[in-house]
């Protein structure tokens, strides 16, 4: 199985086309993006895709930042194939969307020019979280089918099972059933892993970063405490956030939410002024990148189990930032998870942005001011009018459960392990 990529493509919208683009996007949202003109259901390895518009804004110096169209996908590697398919398979929709943008190749231009244009407009993520690294779309779909087949099998009335019999017998019946079904034969084997080259690169990164930190320790021991004190002084100037999100903004956000098991999420905002905040933010993103690649790469982002993908994207030369994700459940539940489980992570990242509730020592306070935090996120949230999901009814928990069901078809298990495995069904 391949590893997963978070691709961001961002382009300036022609000023006179902004309104038309918005209208076109919400029209597209009504039709969905699985079929024409995007045909996303036919793109290989595409898990999620979203379009949103960042309004025209001004940075802290008053420099205007033009409106832009942001297109994000979560997709199985390789990138080259994905970009080619965006043009070859999804081309009609991609042409229409980016046709509102400055400099998009004119109709009839050769495909290579359009692929090149998309590639040139890619924006790197500072960090990119994948619920379970290496679990590709094909695997997710297969394992969902496996579970459904097993559910139907379990519902058959004539197994002769009883509560008192050894659970291992039930398991071996199930194993025999799967092995006997030609269409499920793959399930008896473990899923393929990402490419060796990729795994070696990740392993090197996993070691290199701590080594570099140790080497830099003498310097860090001087710089970090000074930085911390300066930050604390800066934090003391931050007041409470009292501004509430506008009702019409809330209405627009809500109009795109809660249609299925998952929702898209996107926030964008300006970084606080000054080098200290920018440096802090870069350092936090660097550590976040390390953490999501090597610590939080299987089924949980520091205790949150409802996020499929997430990414942190610096924008406009680190003057602004965006965070985007695909998560399960309602925005209220998502925010409550933030507050109850990973307040420290949210604080370390977002407190470098303007309009976030005040923090203490970077990690404390912040999200724990529940209402201020919720207002702040809602105010910075960007409506995602056009959104695609390849598996709208599956939560991250469902997907992980399906993978464990498959894993339990192989190998030796203790009676307790068998009992646990049977409880997953």
């Amino acid at each position: 199985m391949p590893h997963q990529l978070g691709v961001t493509i961002r382009a300036t919208v022609a000023p006179e086309r902004v309104a038309a683009l918005r209208e076109w996007l919400s029209e597209t949202a009504r039709k969905g993006m699985a079929e024409t003109p995007f045909d996303f259901a036919h793109l290989r390895g595409l898990h999620f895709a979203k379009f949103f518009v960042l309004d025209e804004a001004a940075d802290l110096e008053g420099e205007p930042i033009p409106a832009s169209l942001v297109f994000m996908t979560e997709v199985d590697a390789p990138l080259r194939r994905h970009l080619a398919e965006l043009v070859d398979v999804a081309g009609e929709g991609i042409d229409q969307a980016f046709g509102h943008c400055v400099g998009y190749p004119a109709p009839g231009t050769r495909r290579r020019a359009r692929i090149r244009w998309l590639r040139r407009h890619m924006v790197s993520s500072g960090a990119s979280y994948v619920n379970t690294v290496g679990r590709g779309l094909e695997q997710i779909r297969q394992e969902a089918r496996l579970r459904e087949a097993l559910q139907d099998y379990l519902d058959q009335p004539d197994h002769g099972w009883s509560a008192s019999m050894p659970p291992a017998r039930v398991r071996s019946d199930i194993q025999a059933y799967v092995a006997g079904r030609a269409d499920l034969g793959w399930a008896m084997k473990p899923p393929a892993r990402p490419s060796l080259l990729w795994r070696v690169r990740e392993a090197l990164h996993m070691v290199a970063v701590p080594v570099a930190i140790v080497l830099l320790l003498p310097l860090l021991l001087v710089v970090v405490p000074i930085g911390a004190v300066l930050l604390r002084i800066a934090e003391r100037r931050d007041g409470p956030v009292t501004e509430r999100p506008a009702p019409e903004h809330l209405r627009e956000l809500a109009s795109y939410e809660d249609f299925g098991a998952q929702n898209p999420f996107a926030v964008a905002g300006s970084l606080k002024p000054g080098g200290l905040r920018r440096t802090t933010f870069r350092a936090v993103l660097f550590l976040t990148d390390y953490a999501v690649r090597h610590l939080y790469n299987h089924a949980s982002l520091a205790g949150i189990t409802t996020i499929h993908f997430a990414r942190w994207v610096p924008l406009d030369g680190w003057r602004r930032m965006a965070f985007a994700s695909n998560y399960d459940g309602s925005v209220e539940a998502y925010n409550d998870d933030f507050i109850d489980k990973v307040w420290w992570g949210l604080n370390a990242t977002f407190s470098n942005g303007l309009g976030y509730p005040r923090t203490r020592w970077l990690f404390f306070g912040g999200a724990r001011y529940e209402q201020e935090f919720k207002y702040s996120l809602r105010r910075h949230q960007v409506p995602v009018p056009a959104w695609y999901t390849a598996y709208p009814t599956l939560t991250a928990h469902n997907i992980e459960n399906n993978a464990q069901i498959r894993a339990g078809l192989r190998g030796n298990m203790s009676p307790a392990e068998v009992e646990h495995w049977l409880s997953l069904l």
Binding site: W161, N398, L425
Partner: protein, 509 residues
């Protein structure tokens, strides 16, 4: 935490469900204009019962919608300082998805509170010792309404308060104990009062957002000052949001399903199985005993037992299914982070509801419970009400003699669900969406609440964990439908006085 509640400024519904006042009626009203609205409030003010010491033989409470506050003359910008959920209203189309008010439960089918029905300014809750006394209050009220120009949108009649709800299950067993109220005895887990009444610390130790007014908008200093120290006047203090929903319960379909799903392969009935399945769906036995403590049969001695968790005794849901009704509405210690710990209970505490509902409808005699099994009780356990229902025992019992269906909007059997909240989004809406109607709650795939949950048109699934493998019940019909609803605000007494004294202005419906 030592909290002193200003009980004399809080409406009594916060402190009690008036269980001893057996008869109750909830009247939804609209005023012709500001003068009428103010006149009604002036008439009501001396009657409104507070949360202080109570021994009277009747009680009156009044709550307003956002439109009702505007009608009283509160400027729209000030109304906009209440929570977005309250201002937007329960029937808002985007909110309907969160609440599961779709298809047959959709607001356009509602008997009241929907886009097709007249606007509602507020709700009057009248409680009396018996039907005769209630009838006298009702006549008095009707006279006042006629004299003042108040229109009745719907009268929600209720059944005489009882221990069971219409499906036949004992109800109202588990209510949060509120810190600062006399019922909260030492040693028991309490929830901070700010979870249910504004102006006091909530479960985060913070003051929930509330409508604060510049002091200039309260020149006569009728309102309490903001305890947060901002110098503003607090229109919210000692008030609560009040959720009202009319939930129709299809008692016959519920028991028919329990019977059909448990029939033996030859089609004959298994006498004990329907009640056992219904108990699995509810998470308590009809008599109230929790399944974690009484997994195999009802235990009358445990009828009011509320002292249990799930994680240590039943992590897989073999006794009480993970998706059972009471395990959804109050998961206790089963939540992340660290199930079984105080951290888990802390998360649970942020999603509690203080329920104050009552059942309605004709007697369900003879329809509750499959024939001859001697139970006949059913139902919505911990969602429900507080005190409700007919739920006569079993085998073709006689009617219980409560009032019949109301003239407007009642019809059928069910629950007038009422609950108080400090934060509608985090409490009521969260529970409704993330716990009750969520098909993927606790690792499920297609399991909404087996008792009260919405279903997609092809029906739903209920999974009862078992050894060696789970039992899956399919094609579960929908047993409960929303027939009406609204978000109200139950102001403190000072706030009511402030609203009564608002300057006359342009009518702003």
């Amino acid at each position: 935490m030592a909290v002193t509640l200003d009980l004399d400024d809080i409406q009594g519904l916060f402190a009690r469900g008036y269980g001893q006042l057996k008869a109750a009626q909830f009247t939804l009203f609209a005023a012709a204009d500001q003068a009428a609205a103010r006149a009604l409030l002036s008439w009501l003010l001396p009657r409104v019962t507070t949360a202080g010491a109570f021994s009277a033989d009747s009680a009156w409470q009044v709550a307003y919608t956002a439109g009702g506050l505007r009608r009283l003359g509160l400027p729209p910008a000030t109304v906009g300082r209440f929570s977005a959920e309250f201002v937007g209203g329960m029937a808002d189309p985007n909110r309907s998805r969160i609440l599961g008010d779709v298809e047959e439960s959709g607001p356009r089918h509602w008997a009241w509170g929907g886009p097709q029905s007249p606007p509602i300014d507020g709700m009057l809750l009248v409680y009396a010792v018996d039907q005769a006394a209630l009838q006298r209050h009702r006549e008095e009220l009707r006279g006042q309404f006629d004299a003042l120009g108040i229109h009745t949108v719907a009268d929600l009649d209720t059944l005489e308060s009882a221990r069971t709800e219409p499906f036949g299950f004992r109800d109202g067993i588990s209510q949060p104990l509120v810190d600062g109220l006399p019922k909260a005895t030492a040693g028991e887990r309490t929830v901070p009062p700010g979870e249910f009444v504004l102006g006091y610390p909530n479960a985060y130790g913070l003051l929930t957002d509330r409508p604060l007014l510049p002091a200039s908008e309260d020149p006569r200093r009728l309102l309490p000052p903001d305890v947060g120290g901002s110098g503003a006047a607090d229109l919210g203090r000692n008030g609560s949001y009040l959720v009202v929903r009319q939930l129709a319960q299809d008692v016959e379909a519920f028991w028919r399903y329990a019977q059909e799903a448990t029939a033996r392969p030859d089609g004959s009935a298994d006498p004990d199985a329907p009640v056992a399945l219904a108990a699995k769906m509810v998470g308590r036995w009809p008599g109230g005993a929790p399944l974690v403590k009484a997994p195999d049969r009802d235990d009358p001695g445990l009828g009011t037992d509320n002292d249990f968790g799930y994680h240590h005794t039943d992590p897989l849901g073999l006794a009480c299914p993970l998706g059972a009704h009471v395990r959804r509405v109050n998961p206790r210690d089963s939540l992340d982070p660290r199930p079984g710990s105080d951290a888990s209970l802390d998360v649970n505490d942020r999603h509690r509801l203080l329920r104050r509902g009552r059942s309605y409808g004709p007697s369900t005699a003879g329809s509750a419970g499959p024939n001859g099994n001697g139970t006949g009780e059913t139902g919505a356990g911990e969602t429900g009400t507080g005190q409700t229902g007919t739920g006569e025992n079993g085998a073709g019992g006689t009617g219980t003699g409560q009032t019949g269906a109301g003239e407007n909007g009642a019809g059928g059997t069910g629950l007038h669900f009422l609950c108080l909240a400090g934060n509608l989004a985090r409490q009521f809406e969260f529970v409704q969406h993330t716990w009750l109607n969520n098909p993927t709650f606790r690792g499920g795939y297609d399991d909404t609440d087996p008792v009260v949950g919405g279903r997609h048109p092809s029906g739903g699934t209920f999974t009862a964990p078992a050894r060696p493998v789970r039992r899956r019940y399919r094609d579960l019909p929908q047993f409960v439908r929303t027939r009406g609803g609204g978000y109200f605000f139950l102001p403190g007494i000072s706030a009511l006085r402030y609203l009564e004294q608002l300057p006359a202005g342009e009518p702003q419906p």
